[in-house]
């Protein structure tokens, strides 16, 4: 059911992708779920959307060295690590931007009690660093992220955000 729905979404969204050149391309694979809990289409869509939004928040927070921009999308250890990075960047006069180019997302686990969803994301992004207002370098990165999100009042927030060795 989810696969069918995502296929329908894909048809609708291809045009959106074409109109939004700056937006990353998104590929959502059919969930490969372990666990007994059924994943509703609405939940799957919300969790992927919230995860993708978190990249925007992270990019802005690390670019502007503003930890408060993480509040909406991050919680727990993922937030603590990002806040720590921002503090280090601020102390060193460094700014970084993480511009995501493409995502290939697959939901891996909906925990039985419904308190976490784990997904993988084969993501490509550009990372650019500047120090003292001067660009130091830019790299294109392909990485596989393992992400755990937990439900909060109104949205899913990223609790674990970790790139794996490719």
């Amino acid at each position: 059911m989810i696969a069918k729905s995502l296929l329908m979404i894909s048809v609708l969204s291809t045009a959106m992708t074409a109109h939004a050149a700056d937006e990353p391309s998104i590929h959502v694979q059919q969930p490969h779920l372990q666990g007994p809990r059924e994943l509703q289409e609405q939940t799957a869509k919300a969790v992927v959307q919230d995860y993708l939004d978190s990249w925007q928040s992270m990019n802005k927070a690390l670019d502007q060295n503003r930890p408060d921009l993480l509040d909406r999308d991050f919680v727990g250890s993922a937030k603590e690590k990002l806040v720590s990075t921002i503090k280090s960047q601020r102390a060193a006069g460094v700014h970084t931007s993480y511009r995501d180019r493409s995502h290939d997302v697959q939901i891996l686990l909906y925990s039985p009690e419904g308190l976490s969803i784990e997904l993988s994301d084969n993501v490509t992004y550009d990372v650019e660093m500047s120090s003292g207002g001067k660009s130091v370098g830019k790299q294109q990165v392909a990485a596989r992220y393992i992400v755990v999100l937990t439900p909060t009042e109104v949205r899913w927030r990223v609790r674990i955000f970790q790139a794996e060795k490719q």
Binding site: L6, I9, S10, S13, M16, T17, A20, E23, S25, I26, H27, V28, Q34, G35, Q49, L52, D53, M58, L62, S77, K81, L82, S84, T85, S88, Q89, V94, T96, S102, D104, L108, L109, S111, P112, E113, L115, S116, E118, N122, T124, V127, M129, S131, V136, G137, K138, Q139, Q140, V141, A142, A143, I146, V148, I160, F161, Q162, A163, E164, K165, Q166
Partner: protein
């Protein structure tokens, strides 16, 4: 917020090199375990600045070019992908390094649900666990997690589950006897314990007896138990209903010391029934 999820189904080209140098590539390990020391070989001469940059950590330090730059034990410890640059007035060298979680588990996030449930419920208790190293990195390499549910007076239930992407989960049956169960998740030397309260289920049957008490009828139930023989908790409501002709009288009585007791008006030919929740007990016809 982005407008929505733009999704397309199809292949995705991921053939992008992980590090494109600016003016020169650095010689450094492709990956290290979290917190492990390593060295970076730089070229050139004079002074420069080293940057190790990732979402999980950022390191900046002054370095001497043309030699080995040592990164100390515990300096780079958050698992993830890092871009590395060494910049000087005349050149920029770049590279990348992956930091992997250390192999030894040091922490376990264990969620057991629910904290309280009725006895004899198949797969009623769930537990899920995420395994972390001493730096708080999710260990994604498969590991064996042992789940054990110990009930007082019965053999423990044990399951061993291999983690996938750092997570493991299981389901257990609640015991037939009420009481507190210890639910333990263990990986290596690390364990985490949760207490699960198992309470009696619904009443299995209700048996009521009636005897005269002056101009009233004294109604008393036998001790009310669930189908496993556990006493139903005091406070559970038992409903007595007396029907006489066109009139009906209903009395709700909480269980006290396992039984419910009440007096109702005595009417010859009245029918009295007893129930609790969805369970209907016996019926008495008052003939005196």
């Amino acid at each position: 917020m982005r407008a929505g999820i733009p999704i397309f189904i199809g292949g995705l080209a991921l053939g992008i090199s992980s590090a494109l140098s600016q003016t020169g590539d650095l010689n450094l390990p492709k990956s290290i375990a979290a917190g492990v020391p390593f060295s970076i070989q730089s070229t050139g001469s004079g002074k420069g600045t080293l940057y190790i940059v990732g979402p999980g950590q950022m390191i900046k330090q002054d370095v001497q070019l043309g030699g080995s730059i040592e990164i100390a034990t515990g300096a780079l410890y958050n698992a993830g992908h890092y871009s590395v640059w060494i910049a000087s007035d005349s050149s920029t060298q770049s590279g990348a390094i992956d930091v992997t979680p250390s192999a030894k588990p040091a922490d376990l996030t264990f969620i057991a649900k629910p904290s309280r449930l009725p006895v004899s419920l198949h797969n009623g208790i769930t537990g899920s666990a995420y395994v972390f190293d001493s730096y708080g990195n999710l260990i994604t390499k498969p590991m064996q997690v042992s789940f054990q549910l110990s009930n007082p007076g019965s053999a423990p239930q044990t399951r061993t589950v291999e983690t996938r992407n750092g997570a493991a989960w299981t389901q257990m049956d609640s015991a037939t006897r009420e009481g507190k169960a210890q639910f333990v998740a263990r990986v290596g030397d690390v364990s985490s314990t949760r207490i699960v309260g198992q309470v009696p289920g619904d009443p299995c049957t209700i048996k009521m007896s009636a005897k005269p008490a002056g101009n009233k009828i004294q109604l008393v139930t036998d001790p009310v138990r669930d189908c496993s023989g556990n006493a139903i908790p005091d406070g559970t409501i038992v409903t007595f209903t007396e029907t006489y002709g066109a009139s009906k009288t209903t009395v709700d009585v909480p269980l006290k010391k396992g039984i419910a007791s009440v007096q109702v008006p005595a009417h010859r030919g009245a029918t009295i029934s007893v129930a609790s929740g969805v369970v209907l007990g016996n019926q008495v016809r008052w003939a005196e």
